[in-house]
């Protein structure tokens, strides 16, 4: 695998993402609204709690947790629909006759645009959180480790979405899968609220599912960092990613033989 071509794909899409700068900015304004609403909800909840701590989370860490989860979740756009539509409409023809791996191409291309969206969301969401609940106490040394954790979360998110996107060819529609998946990550993946506040039995199930390694763990490590947990989470993230990549490649190989390429 030639790394340089994939690096250039990322670079080109990073440049291309500035064409969608305002799109990202308007999405980030929506994030600001979500952060504002949740900042108010959590303020009321924490006011009712005399200790000021719920399952290890303070008001600030709870809101900043949401900023990170939203930044990871919204950074990639609608990959399931994108890949699904490319498979269903035959748009994939333009990728299959090129000397690269289709899924790697999509991944490195996605990373290029994710960087811009992720940073804008962190900036706008972070600013909103700072205004309404104040700063979160973190050690700046951990930031590179959090960046790794977020990148792995984004990668896992991509690989799971690409599996569903490929699968869309079977059911001939990607929208329903995309809707379902987004809700799963939003709720049982711990995007809206940390899994720690769920009932113990539900939390135990959610914590072992791959969805929690997309947003929950990276965001939790950001506000409540623990080196041992970081190492453990990183290993499991990598394991899920490798598993999902292998599955996606096999699925793609099998299903690409069924692609009928419309329009001719």
């Amino acid at each position: 695998m030639s790394i340089s071509k994939y690096y250039f794909i990322t670079k080109t899409n990073f440049k291309n993402s500035f064409a969608y700068f305002y799109d990202s900015l308007f999405s980030a304004i929506f994030i600001a609204l979500i952060v504002f609403v949740f900042a108010n909800i959590w303020t009321v909840v924490f006011r009712a709690n005399p200790t000021g701590v719920i399952n290890g989370f303070t008001l600030q860490s709870m809101v900043w947790y949401l900023v990170v989860t939203e930044a990871i979740l919204t950074s990639q756009g609608r990959i399931i629909i994108q890949i699904g539509n490319e498979m269903i409409t035959g748009e994939i023809a333009n990728y299959l006759n090129k000397p690269y791996n289709y899924l790697f191409y999509k991944y490195f291309s996605t990373i290029g645009s994710s960087i811009t969206t992720f940073l804008i969301t962190i900036l706008v969401g972070g600013l909103t959180a700072f205004i309404f609940v104040g700063p979160v106490q973190i050690n700046p040394i951990i930031l590179p480790l959090i960046a790794i954790s977020c990148l792995l979360g984004i990668t896992l998110h991509f690989t799971l979405m690409s599996v569903l996107g490929i699968f869309a060819l079977w059911i001939e529609d990607a929208h329903s899968l995309a809707w379902l998946y987004q809700k799963v990550v939003l709720v049982i993946g711990g995007t809206l609220a940390p899994l720690d506040i769920f009932p113990a039995w539900l939390s135990a199930i959610c914590l072992v599912l791959p969805f929690s390694f997309i947003t929950y763990y990276p965001a939790k490590l950001f506000v409540l960092f623990n080196l041992n947990e970081f190492i453990q989470v990183t290993i499991i993230q990598i394991a899920w990613i490798v598993g999902a990549i292998i599955f996606a490649q096999i699925l793609f190989k099998v299903i690409s033989k069924r692609v009928s390429i419309n329009g001719g």
Partner: protein, 338 residues
């Protein structure tokens, strides 16, 4: 040297078949519901046992009506689709087993599926493709500059593609497809949606590139003007089967059986009616007649006529290529395409 090159086989297709499974619609509410659990399919044979080969530097028109199987064949050749049966080699490589290897040696332009990045200037996509095809950067820049000049797009490659006209965009698409010096070029409806002037420019460029770089070109088009203007050889496909494969000249010889001749003379017309000539209009100095070339030799007839008359003006009209192809579709001489 070209003679030697001409014998190199660039594309070889043997007994190629491809079918698609289409879900059959069900009647009645209950059947419509149960089709999700037990769908019924019918088989559509898109390509049915076709064989042909192409030599280096050949430029071939692959024509047929909608759904004839031409694009399916092209997509199998370029490694995008998997055939059900038969053998396909392009540049000596199996187009399915060696798909990635083959990608370095072929170029594709799908008129309806642009490859340029819409929001970026064309030069950014050129640069990206130079990395994707792992080109030597020095060589690439030389090649890019040459093609940019050749296709006269120097002033537009730094503008975002979305701001370019269709013709400008298509010229950029051609440069993109030619950057890595492909040996075989697949063109699927390359002039679709273009006006007459741009079509002419694109056709000229295809011919020139074919001549200069000896690249083998396979072209599908609904526009017979493309085929007539560019291709030496035509493969006519219908219902997934090849129904004609020969030179454009021979098609005309075989299928053009009637010609309309209009004459104007300076002196009174000397004309003897005979079998094979149907007079449409005749005055003292004018004649319009339909000549049946199966009954009378057009060349001999014309020579005799020119001897006896003082001709001022003459026009000979042949049926358009569309009509000829339609005639071939209707005749459909199965398994006898030569």
């Amino acid at each position: 040297m070209f003679k030697q090159e001409k014998s190199i086989e660039m594309v070889s297709v043997t007994n190629l078949s491809k079918s698609f499974k289409l879900r059959t619609p069900q009647k009645g509410l209950a059947n419509k519901f149960f089709r999700y659990f037990k769908p019924q399919y019918r088989e559509l044979k898109a390509v049915n046992n076709i064989s042909f080969s192409l030599k280096k530097g050949e430029i071939v028109g692959f024509i047929g009506p909608n759904g004839a199987g031409k694009s399916t064949t092209l997509k199998i050749l370029s490694g995008i689709l998997f055939p059900d049966g038969g053998k396909v080699t392009v540049c000596g490589l199996d187009s399915q087993k060696n798909r990635k290897e083959l990608a370095y040696r072929i170029g594709t332009i799908f008129g309806q599926k642009p490859q340029l990045w819409f929001h970026l200037p064309a030069i950014d996509t050129f640069n990206l493709f130079s990395r994707i095809y792992e080109l030597d950067q020095k060589e690439y820049k030389k090649r890019r500059d040459y093609l940019v000049k050749r296709f006269e797009i120097e002033d537009i490659i730094t503008q975002p593609v979305r701001k370019l006209s269709l013709g400008q965009r298509m010229r950029c698409e051609f440069v993109l497809a030619l950057l890595h010096k492909p040996e075989v070029l697949f063109l699927d409806e390359p002039t679709i949606g273009m006006d007459v002037v741009i079509k002419k420019t694109i056709r000229e460029l295809i011919k020139q590139i074919n001549k200069e770089e000896r690249v083998t070109v396979i072209l599908t088009s609904h526009d017979m003007g493309d085929v007539e203007d560019i291709c030496e050889r035509v493969i006519v496909i219908n219902h997934g089967e090849i129904i004609y494969d020969d030179s454009l000249k021979k098609i005309k010889e075989k299928y053009v059986t009637k010609k309309i001749v209009r004459l104007q003379t300076n002196k009174p017309l000397v004309f003897t009616k005979r079998e094979g000539i149907k007079v449409i209009k005749k005055t003292e100095f004018e004649l319009e007649a339909e000549i049946d070339t199966t009954k009378v030799s057009f060349n001999k007839l014309a020579a005799g006529f020119f001897d006896k008359n003082d001709i001022e003006d003459v026009t000979i009209e042949e049926p358009p290529i569309e009509d000829i192809i339609e005639k071939i579709y209707k005749e459909k001489p199965k398994n006898s395409h030569k």
